[in-house]
C-alpha cells in the first residue's frame, strides 16, 4: 500500500514541477470523479459490513471443511462471490484453512472468486459498464474461477 503512495506522490510532484496548471486540473478531475462515485461506494460498504457479519471467518471455515470436495468448491465460489475481502485478509485466512486440511482446489475457487467476481461491487461496476455487461463479466469470471479450481485439483492430485 505504501508504495502506491510513494509512486503517486512522486508522480504528482514531477507533474507539478513540469506544469502547474495541468496538475491542478488533474487534481480537480480526481475530486470530481471521486465525488461522483462516492455515494455508490458508501452503499457498497454498507452491504459489505452486513455480509461480513453474516459470514465471519469461522462460518466460512466451517462450511468449507464439512462437506464433499465438489460441494465445497461450489460453496467456496459462492462465498467468494458474495463477500469482498482485501488480499491481506483473504490469503492469511486461506493459509489457515489450508492447515485445517481444506483442499487446494476449494481454496483456489474461494480466492479466485473473491478477487474476480463481485456481487457486492455490482452497484459500482454497473455505474461504469451498465447492468448487462456487468452480469456477463461476472459470469465469465465465475467460469474462470471454476476452471482454475479444476486445474488446481488436477495438479495437486485432489481430483484423480
Amino acid at each position: 500500500m505504501y508504495y502506491t503512495y510513494t509512486i503517486t506522490g512522486l508522480v504528482l510532484i514531477i507533474s507539478f514541477i513540469i506544469n502547474k496548471q495541468k496538475t491542478l486540473k488533474a487534481v480537480k478531475i480526481a475530486v470530481v470523479k471521486f465525488k461522483k462515485i462516492f455515494p455508490t461506494f458508501i452503499t457498497m460498504l454498507i452491504l459489505v459490513s452486513i455480509i461480513l457479519f453474516l459470514f465471519p471467518d469461522e462460518v466460512i471455515s466451517n462450511y468449507l471443511g464439512n462437506s464433499s470436495k465438489f460441494i465445497s468448491v461450489l460453496l467456496a465460489s459462492f462465498i467468494g462471490s458474495i463477500t469482498l475481502m482485501p488480499g491481506f485478509v483473504a490469503f492469511p485466512l486461506s493459509g489457515i484453512l489450508l492447515t485445517k486440511g481444506i483442499p487446494y482446489m476449494v481454496l483456489s475457487a474461494f480466492t479466485t472468486t473473491l478477487m474476480m467476481v463481485g456481487i457486492i461491487t455490482f452497484p459500482i461496476e454497473k455505474e461504469y459498464f451498465g447492468v448487462k455487461v456487468t452480469i456477463i463479466r461476472n459470469f465469465i469470471s465465475l467460469f474462470i474461477a471454476l476452471s482454475v479450481a479444476v486445474v488446481t485439483g488436477i495438479f495437486f492430485g485432489e481430483i484423480f
Binding site: 500500500m1 478531475i29 488480499g87 487446494y104 478477487m115 461491487t121 465469465i140 482454475v148 486445474v151 495438479f155
Partner: protein, 174 residues
C-alpha cells in the same frame, strides 16, 4: 434518477440510525456491523485518493493518440502485454480497476483490452501475488496465474468482439 437518490439517502440514513441505536443500546450484532463498516471505510479511504489522483494525472498527461496506438483497434498482442503489466503494478483490486478501465476506454483503448485490464487487475497484481505465494505456495499461485490469465484474455477478446459488433458503448453514470 431523483427517486433513486431519495431511496438511497433513506437507506443510508436508516443504516446510520441503526448503527447509532446499536451503539447506544449495546446491541452487539449492530456494533459488529458498525466496526466492519468503519474498518472497510478506512481501508477504502487509504487506497482511493491515490487511485483517483493517478486517474486525474492520466487524463491530463496521456494523449489519446498514444493509447489509441498501443491499446486501440490496431494494437496486437503487445497491447495485451502492456495492459497486464499496467494492471499488475496498480494496487487496489477491482474497485480501483473500474474507474481506471473507464479512463482507458475513454482515451481510445479497445473493449477487449479494457476487459483484460479489469481481469488482470483482479488476479495478478504483483505485490498481492507475492503475498499469496508466501501463504499458499508458489505452485498454487503459478497454477492460478497460468490458467486464469490466458482465460481472461480469451474471454475478453470474445466479449470485446461481441460487444463491438453490437455497437456497445461505455457511458459513465448509466
Amino acid at each position: 434518477m431523483k427517486r433513486n437518490t431519495k431511496i438511497s439517502t433513506a437507506c443510508i440514513s436508516g443504516y446510520i440510525f441503526f448503527l447509532i441505536i446499536s451503539f447506544v443500546f449495546e446491541f452487539n450484532p449492530g456494533k459488529e456491523i458498525g466496526y466492519n463498516f468503519i474498518s472497510f471505510l478506512l481501508y477504502m479511504l487509504k487506497i482511493l485518493p491515490c487511485a483517483f489522483i493517478l486517474i486525474g494525472l492520466f487524463e491530463v498527461w496521456i494523449k489519446k493518440e498514444v493509447i489509441e496506438k498501443h491499446l486501440g483497434k490496431e494494437s496486437g498482442m503487445k497491447g495485451y502485454a502492456w495492459v497486464v503489466l499496467l494492471a499488475g503494478t496498480i494496487a487496489g483490486g477491482l474497485l480501483v480497476a473500474f474507474p481506471i478501465a473507464y479512463s482507458l476506454y475513454n482515451k481510445g483503448a479497445k473493449l477487449s483490452i479494457v476487459f483484460t485490464y479489469i481481469g488482470a487487475a483482479a488476479i495478478c497484481r504483483i505485490p498481492m501475488t507475492l503475498y499469496e505465494a508466501s501463504f499458499m505456495g508458489v505452485k498454487f499461485t503459478m497454477i492460478r496465474l497460468l490458467v486464469s490469465l490466458p482465460l481472461v484474455m480469451i474471454t475478453s477478446i470474445l466479449l470485446g468482439e461481441y460487444l463491438t459488433k453490437r455497437n456497445y458503448k461505455i457511458i459513465e453514470g448509466k
